[in-house]
Amino acid sequence: MSVQPLAPSDASLLELVDRLLNKGVVLIGEATISVAGVDLIYLGLNLVLSSVDALERSTGGSSGGGAPRT
């Protein structure tokens, strides 16, 4: 299965969301973002893109026999 290119507009949005959620001054020492149950868009650029890849593999796997990578 071919990997679809990421549209520049998607990359822009993901970069911005990554900044808003993962950068900026941190005023708290113990806070973390819980991964469990969180919508993928909130997890930041790296994980979002990895997850999109995984989802596509999963979709391809259901028709092509490949195992999804998570």
Binding site: V3, P5, A11, L16, L21, A31, V38, Y42, L45, N46
Partner: protein, 248 residues
């Protein structure tokens, strides 16, 4: 009721032409020569995904008026006293960070691979007589080689961008090969009055790259460069992530 923090700026209160989240009043709390901007929020009211980008609108509005440290989205204070106590405890570190970003903005560059990993690379011939173990190792070696080649290429691209920007390394943050599609994610802290020229220079360089698609964003508030020295630690409970955020 809690306070969702947006940004920290020097006192006295500057005039800003922006409302808080969802158009609600923007509040200013001052202490130690600093002020924190926030939106009053009902504890029971969940934040929505639209609020993430609305936070960006608020921070941009504040940064347009005064030097500003963006606060990470989702940070909430129980009350005004907790917000002021945080300013008191970290005033030196916050002032240092404000001095670092004053008059500067963030430019973001993302380089996306045009081809999937190994998509155009020639596959090594595999002898029909080889067994499954040999084939597994050959395939693994091919993937590793392709991955290393991409990392080297991404590092070259970073070097070229930094050279183009002609800035000291401390003003650049970058990450390479963070996913199969992203070659480089880079941020530079630029003088605001030079941002347009730098964006134009970056776009010229990116237009000449054949193996990646370049995306330049900004100028943005200095999100990536707003970090402060953690030694000024804030006691537990003075600020927390808003309950219900991130949403399930």
């Amino acid at each position: 009721m809690r306070l969702i923090a947006h940004a920290i700026t020097p006192a006295p209160r500057p005039r800003v032409a922006v409302s808080g989240l969802r158009g609600r009043p923007l509040e200013w709390l001052e202490s130690a020569g600093l002020g924190i901007w926030s939106t009053r929020w009902d504890t029971a009211e969940p934040l929505a995904r639209e609020d993430v980008l609305d936070h960006h609108r608020v921070v941009e509005g504040i940064c347009a008026a005064t030097p500003c440290l963006p606060v990470r989205f989702g940070t909430a204070f129980a009350d005004a006293a907790a917000a002021r106590a945080t300013l008191d405890r970290r005033s030196d570190a916050l002032r240092d960070a404000l001095a670092r970003v004053s008059g500067r903005c963030e430019i973001a560059v993302t380089l996306l691979w045009r081809e999937p990993s190994g998509g155009s690379a020639p596959r090594p011939p595999v002898a029909e007589a080889t067994g499954p173990g040999r084939r597994f190792l050959d395939e693994r070696r091919t993937r590793w080689s392709a991955s290393e080649a991409r990392r080297r290429r991404a590092a070259e691209l970073v070097e070229r961008l930094v050279t183009t920007l002609a800035v000291e390394p401390a003003l650049v943050w970058h990450e390479i090969c963070s996913s199969e599609r992203v070659a480089v994610s880079l941020a530079v802290l630029s003088p605001t009055d030079q941002a347009a020229d730098r964006i134009a220079s970056l776009r010229r360089v990116l237009a000449g790259l054949s193996d990646v698609t370049g995306v330049v964003n900004g100028p943005w508030p200095p999100y990536t460069f707003a970090g402060i020295d953690e030694s000024g630690g804030v006691s537990a409970g003075s600020a927390t992530r808003l309950p219900g955020w991130p949403p399930a």
